[in-house]
Symmetry: C2
């Protein structure tokens, strides 16, 4: 951040009075510009014993598989975000169940929230950010081609809970990245 | 938003190619500026059968009571945010239990997340944003002077669950505001 988006003045990093972190503060109008983590919201969509995955047509992770998910927008609830992303990425209508997993990804300033969901009808197709949409039984999930570490973590928990016959809410935080494939990013 | 914080150019609202919502786009460098909801994270802190509340020394809701909570910062996990806010607002050290409530507040572009937590020792005092810190038994909670609707919702669920002997994860969304007192805002 170089300029104030209110007045166009130059910003500089300084710790405002009463604060304890450096913020971008405008040298002209004194507006303090806070930067905060973003929420990525999506869902694990079931149809019978299979789940719906989307193969990404955009970067990051072009060509890899994910669940429908994306950045939450202003003015919507987390549920509305999950339903909208599923409609946009998989052209699918879903009924959401409970929140299922909340995963902090601090090195990229994101928090990922996944619901469980059910397809309302056997109808889905690729949206603009998707190459391919497909239902997978557990044993067919392309584990080596899952786009994001948070999605893999969520799906492993999902199948484990399903085998155990009991879904519980999961919370986790990802450690810093060590290699390209394991790096998460907003869907 | 009037100016690009990357190059200082003028921004205008337009729907970028492949998008379906108007965004602030820079007329000079073409950067798209996305605005997304912010996470407010805090906790319901227990000490024996009482809970710790803070009376606010800042606006909004000066003088009203809340649980320790505030905007999540870049680079931290949701757990770290809850622990930090409790340290900052109540000078208290806590051990977090499970996530307890997730409440969307779409009309102010926020999502509030509350954990359950326990004080590690009977030591707390007002931080910079707090006039007073105090332990309350359920029957002493100042329900008419709770600062935010999300906090009241979370506390009512907490005491109800505690009486039932079972804490479950709660998810909700607030409807739009109708009067001043019911309006939530970031703690």
């Amino acid at each position: 951040m170089n300029f104030c988006n209110e007045c166009g003045g130059t910003v500089h990093l300084t710790i405002p009075p009463g604060d304890n972190l450096p913020r971008h503060v405008c040298e002209v109008c004194a507006t303090i510009h806070y930067l905060n983590p973003k929420l990525v919201v999506g869902c694990v969509v079931e149809w019978g014993d299979r789940i719906l995955l989307c193969r990404r047509s955009i970067q990051p992770r072009y060509g890899l598989w994910t669940v429908p998910a994306g950045f939450m927008e202003n003015g919507e609830t987390t549920r509305e975000a999950a339903v909208r992303e599923t409609q946009e990425e998989a052209r699918a209508r879903v009924e959401l169940d409970a929140p299922y997993a909340l995963i902090s990804v601090p090195h990229i300033n994101q928090v990922h929230l996944f619901y469980r969901a059910r397809l309302l009808e056997a109808s889905f197709s690729p949206g603009l950010e998707t190459l391919e949409t497909k239902l997978f039984a557990e044993e067919m999930v392309p584990w080596h081609d899952i786009a994001f570490q948070t999605v893999a973590l969520c799906l492993r928990a999902f199948f484990s809970d399903r085998r155990a016959g009991h879904f519980r809410f999961h919370e986790a935080a990802l450690p810093p990245v060590t290699d390209r494939r394991s790096q998460p990013a907003g869907g």
